[in-house]
């Protein structure tokens, strides 16, 4: 597909998908070159300026969603009181995992100075954190990392778009070779 039909088609797919869709998926579904899809997405983003909806770049994909200015009416309409925010302890733990992944529980506890077993379990339950492998060390401790749900929860495009950590270059930490053993069980 190409030309003038591409933009409305991309818009349709974003609408029915609900969640984030990658350029690759759009490109494959529409049989259009990724560059053209990318260009159309850029146009759509501009088109939605001043509208109730927006095109957001989240978790490596694009999603059509409402603007925060209208959260009040949307929530009232859907009958949602409020969405569950993370506790401070959960947020801190999640930050440590996000910037230092893959990381063991002992390493998390070393930074926080308190036991983090329970917090970690809750983060896993909420699909923000998952096991990503085991460290090749005595006891083969479980390594934890963040999920795609984590990116969506914070509206992040990818891990590189995390806010900068003082005295640290997250890019360096994230691209450092990790001693993860075995294949990722979830991928």
């Amino acid at each position: 597909m190409n030309g003038s039909a591409l933009k409305p088609a991309v818009e349709c797919l974003l609408f029915v998908a609900g969640g984030p869709v990658t350029v690759q998926r759009l490109s494959a579904a529409l049989e259009a070159p990724p560059e053209a899809v990318q260009e159309v997405l850029r146009e759509l983003t501009e088109d939605y300026a001043g509208r109730g909806l927006q095109v957001q770049v989240v978790a490596g994909g694009y999603q059509l969603c409402t603007r925060p200015d209208y959260a009040g009416v949307v929530q009232r309409f859907l009958g949602l009181d409020h969405r569950e925010t993370l506790s401070q302890a959960a947020l801190e733990t999640l930050a440590i995992i996000a910037y230092r992944q893959p990381i063991t529980r002992a390493e998390i506890e070393l930074v926080r100075g308190v036991r983090s077993e329970h917090v970690l379990e809750r983060l896993i339950e909420r699909h923000l954190v998952r096991e990503v492998g085991r460290r090749q060390a005595p006891g083969r401790p479980i390594l934890y990392g963040t999920t795609e749900g984590f990116l969506r929860h914070f509206g992040l495009q990818d891990l590189r778009s995390l806010p900068p950590l003082r005295g640290d270059d997250p890019r360096g930490a994230l691209t450092a070779p990790a001693s993860v053993s075995g294949a990722d069980p979830l991928d």
Partner: protein
């Protein structure tokens, strides 16, 4: 009951007093030959054993042996926190400081993440088109299901027979359907749910059981195209 009396050059008195004094640090256990006390006590027992006293003495001696052992073995001075072998004492302070810095950085960045979270919670996307928890009736309308039900009902009506007297329960039919589907992971055709000899009551109850299972999302009904056979498949398979 008078406690066993110890007679030593350094001490003479009840054995429990010796323990108390040792615990208070008034007697240095390193100077007390515990082996000799034990031997003398055993010698004194020749006349017969007072079980209560023997237990008491055994307990007191054991406690003193443990205390003495602690005094004799050099104390482990290693701190509980493992320290990097290369770290000199002055580095320890630095390490703690570093760790604190690191923690502060994460605390700071948590605030930034909180702001992102707050923004994102004001944003709503459509729920995915295919809700994983939705009742699945792929290509099957309620009419189709009802039509199929009517057909089976007709089939039973054509036969002249008696309505069985025994009670047919939905729970039993649910169990039977699930057993059948467990044996056929690829699914079965709708008609297979109903035994050929099934009476009207059994057919009705089986159909109710099927509807219940669909409602509970334990089975799916599928139909490739209109008028094609309806297949019933276990959701777990």
């Amino acid at each position: 009951m008078p406690a066993y009396t110890v007679k030593l050059p350094q001490f003479e008195g009840p054995i429990d007093l010796l323990l108390t004094l040792a615990q208070q640090g008034q007697v240095d256990l390193r100077e007390v030959p515990l082996g000799r006390i034990a031997e003398e006590y055993l010698a004194s027992m020749q006349g017969g054993v007072d079980l209560d006293e023997a237990t008491e003495v055994l307990w007191i001696l054991a406690a003193m042996i443990e205390m003495k052992a602690r005094l004799l073995v050099p104390r482990d001075e290693t701190p509980v926190e493992p320290v990097e072998p290369s770290a000199a004492p002055s580095d320890l302070q630095e390490q703690l400081e570093e760790r604190l810095q690191e923690y502060r950085a994460f605390k700071e960045v948590s605030a930034a993440l909180r702001a992102l979270e707050e923004y994102q919670q004001q944003v709503f996307a459509r729920p995915p088109a295919e809700d994983a928890g939705a009742v699945v009736l792929a290509g099957v309308t309620v009419d189709d299901l009802f039509h199929a039900f009517r057909q089976v009902l007709e089939r039973t009506r054509e036969r002249v027979g008696e309505i069985p007297a025994e009670e047919v329960r939905v729970a039993d039919r649910i169990e039977a359907i699930e057993e059948l589907l467990a044996a056929h992971p690829e699914g079965v055709v709708f008609e297979a749910l109903f035994a050929d000899r099934a009476g009207t009551l059994e057919v009705i109850v089986t159909f109710l059981a099927l509807l219940e299972l669909i409602k509970l999302r334990r089975v799916r009904a599928e139909q490739e195209r209109p008028f094609a056979p309806i297949r019933i498949v276990s959701v777990s398979s």
